[in-house]
């Protein structure tokens, strides 16, 4: 019997030209406009028939910004986000950090339909530690584990709020795959995942993870999510995946549109061979690296590919 792949497109979405114009003018109706535009994008996710729906995070300036509201955290300088032409504001950790429902309070979960599966994302502890600045914890291990504890609290809160799927965004792991100490990273990620009553996937993007894939498979999460614009599918085919697997096939850093039939065929063959417990199809990374119009087109492609993928 054929198995089907599920779909989602998590992360920060691009703002529409109308919303961009309103943010430039600091329009007084901006909060309402954000809500309206979020609803519109959720409708687009539904139109694309994605399995999981999510808040498009239009009001997140970068993946760390909500955490600037944590106690003992302040905003630092702009930094380039990996090799993109997009910048994020580095957080400065000035004292002990603890979870305080930051992610949930920055999501508009109420606007997501109750009869649908809901997904959300947040940084993985290593990426959080790597891209921000520690001025308090004595060493990197202490710093990383404190972040993991904080994120665990966030993940638990999300799970209690009916979020069924949590993606930990881990570009730093993929980007630094040749020099990373997987042992300590594994501990931190498992600390986040432990006891969380939702599926937790580790999303590895902006780097080739083929050389550390076998080690990543040992991390006790529900699945790995791979950016196939950096890691070739061929380099993974010889691995048998007992857990879940999410293939990032929709390139969210290029406007070129994917061919539905061809992509679905490649993905189906790969899943046949790798035989994961469950399979997902997604974008390679946040859609915010595309202009609005192209992000919508990519959502539609994602849905179409997802519906076409069948594996044994």
């Amino acid at each position: 019997m054929h198995k089907l792949a599920k779909t989602h497109a998590l992360g920060i979405y691009p703002r529409s030209p109308k919303l961009i114009e309103a943010t430039r003018k600091n329009d007084r109706k901006l909060p309402q406009l954000f809500q309206m535009e979020k609803k519109k994008l959720i409708r687009e996710q539904r139109k694309a028939k994605l399995t999981y729906l999510c808040d498009p995070l239009l009001d997140w300036n970068d993946m760390f910004r909500p955490f600037s509201n944590l106690k003992n955290v302040s905003l630092g300088a702009l930094n380039r986000f990996f090799e993109t032409n997009t910048f994020y504001r580095k957080l400065i950790i000035n004292g002990e950090i603890n979870g305080s429902n930051i992610v949930k309070s920055h999501l508009t979960l109420s606007m997501l339909p109750k009869n649908k599966e809901i997904a959300a994302c947040m940084p993985d502890p290593y990426t959080f530690a790597d891209l921000n600045e520690n001025k308090y914890y004595k060493d990197f291990a202490d710093y990383l584990l404190a972040i993991a504890d904080m994120l665990k609290h966030e993940a638990q809160t999300l799970a209690k709020s009916k979020v069924k799927f949590i993606q930990l965004n881990a570009p730093s792991i993929a980007y630094n795959s040749d020099k990373i100490d997987i042992g300590i990273v594994k501990d931190a990620i498992e600390r986040v995942k432990d006891g969380v009553k939702a599926k937790v996937y580790l999303h590895l993007y902006f780097g080739d993870i083929s050389k550390i894939f076998s080690k990543l498979l040992d991390i006790k999460v529900d699945g790995l999510s791979i950016d196939l614009s950096y890691t070739t599918l061929n380099s993974l085919l010889d691995y048998r995946v007992d857990n879940g697997l999410c293939l990032g096939v929709i390139n969210a850093t290029n406007t070129k549109l994917e061919d539905v039939k061809e992509t679905a065929k490649i993905v189906s063959n790969a899943l046949d061979r790798m035989n994961p417990r469950e399979a997902y199809i997604s974008t390679t990374c946040d859609l915010e690296f595309l202009p609005y119009e192209f992000a919508i087109k990519k959502l539609s492609k994602l849905g179409a590919i997802g519906r076409s993928v069948k594996y044994e």
Binding site: P14, P17, R80, N85, T86, N254, E288, P291, Y292
Partner: protein, 336 residues
């Protein structure tokens, strides 16, 4: 130039408010808008001359922005829409949908105007092929290298040739994306060398804010066919006076360049373009003296801001440039 610490600007200045309002006004004719742009360019030229800079341009007053402006004139691109740089800042990003080619010398009019109206050395900034490719979506070429080299060969070099034909003697290739992808430094090197082929003018390369403090650039510096690298340093430096390594932390990569045997000129960023605080001329002096201490020959150290000053108000920008000139003079006196 046989002068210690020659002074130069890097490119863009904030456009005057009156010009922005005027060009947005649909009731004003194109002819009048063109005259207004000439006035603004003339104002910038004369202000930069009065400040005392040795090498100038017009503040790029006719260009919307360094990426969008050239892309408008290059065959093969189509604008896709707005993409976020950070927070509420966006830039218009284009898709490359067919082979790129050069349509027209899109900097010629502005260059001829500056040349006619200035008695200083004129340096024309042009956006480099690597940055044009890196900031675009590639839907046409098989890989980035083909895309970048075609831009160098079919667009930037013909543009530079036309400028030289009309009298340009110094051309600055702007490459803010230069070191963004350390693994692609070979492509970057080949692209600049492709641009430089057959160009009878001084070529300088300006790179900025692309990460890793130029460590990726250092091993390639000697292979790149440029007379000068104009780089940003001041934003990473301390504000303490002095010429020790600790006092001049922001300039540490100079030692690496020296160790790799780089013998060209350095356009030394001596004022930070992202803060309003004005650097004392003595601080500019010490930054220049530190660079001269490492490289030996002060005629090869050019004083400039870290980057174009368009993010600062015009008053602040001009005052910062004045500090560059004053600091260079102090440095010359210190070496006497």
């Amino acid at each position: 130039m046989n002068k210690s610490f020659p002074t130069q600007e890097i490119g863009s200045l904030k456009k005057p408010e009156w010009l922005l309002e005027l060009v947005k006004n649909e009731g004003i004719s194109e002819e009048d808008k063109s005259k207004a742009r000439n006035d603004a360019a003339y104002l910038n030229i004369k202000t930069l001359e009065d400040i005392g800079l040795d090498i100038i341009y017009d503040g790029e007053v006719r260009r919307v922005e360094m990426y969008e402006y050239p892309v408008r004139y290059i065959e093969g691109f189509k604008f896709a829409g707005l993409v976020r740089s950070w927070d509420n800042k966006y830039y218009k990003k284009a898709r490359c949908v067919s082979r790129v080619s050069y349509r027209t010398d899109f900097h010629l009019d502005e260059f001829l105007f500056v040349k006619k109206n200035s008695n200083r050395i004129v340096k024309v900034p042009v956006t480099g092929p690597y940055t044009l490719a890196d900031w675009s979506y590639n839907e046409y070429y098989n890989n980035k290298e083909e895309f970048v080299i075609d831009l160098a060969r079919n667009v930037v070099r013909p543009l530079m040739m036309d400028l030289v034909k009309h009298g340009a003697q110094v051309i600055q290739i702007d490459e803010p994306a230069a070191t963004t992808h350390p693994a692609e430094m070979r492509i970057f090197t080949e692209a600049i060398n492709e641009c430089a082929k057959g160009i009878d003018a001084k070529i300088t390369v300006h790179a900025c804010y692309s990460g890793n403090d130029y460590q990726a650039l250092v091993p390639y510096a000697n292979e790149i066919n440029t007379a000068q690298f104009a780089l940003e340093f001041a934003n990473r430096d301390t504000w303490q006076l002095g010429t020790t390594d600790d006092e001049r932390k922001g300039y540490s990569v100079l030692k690496a360049l020296k160790e790799y045997g780089f013998k060209g000129e350095i356009g030394l960023g001596v004022v930070d373009v992202h803060v309003d605080e004005l650097e004392p001329p003595e601080l500019v002096r010490d930054r220049l003296l530190y660079a001269a201490k490492i490289f030996g020959d002060p005629t090869k150290i050019y004083a400039n801001p870290d980057c174009g000053l368009r993010t600062r108000t015009r008053n602040i920008a001009f005052e910062k440039l004045r500090r560059v000139v004053q600091g260079a003079q102090l440095a010359r006196e210190a070496l006497k």
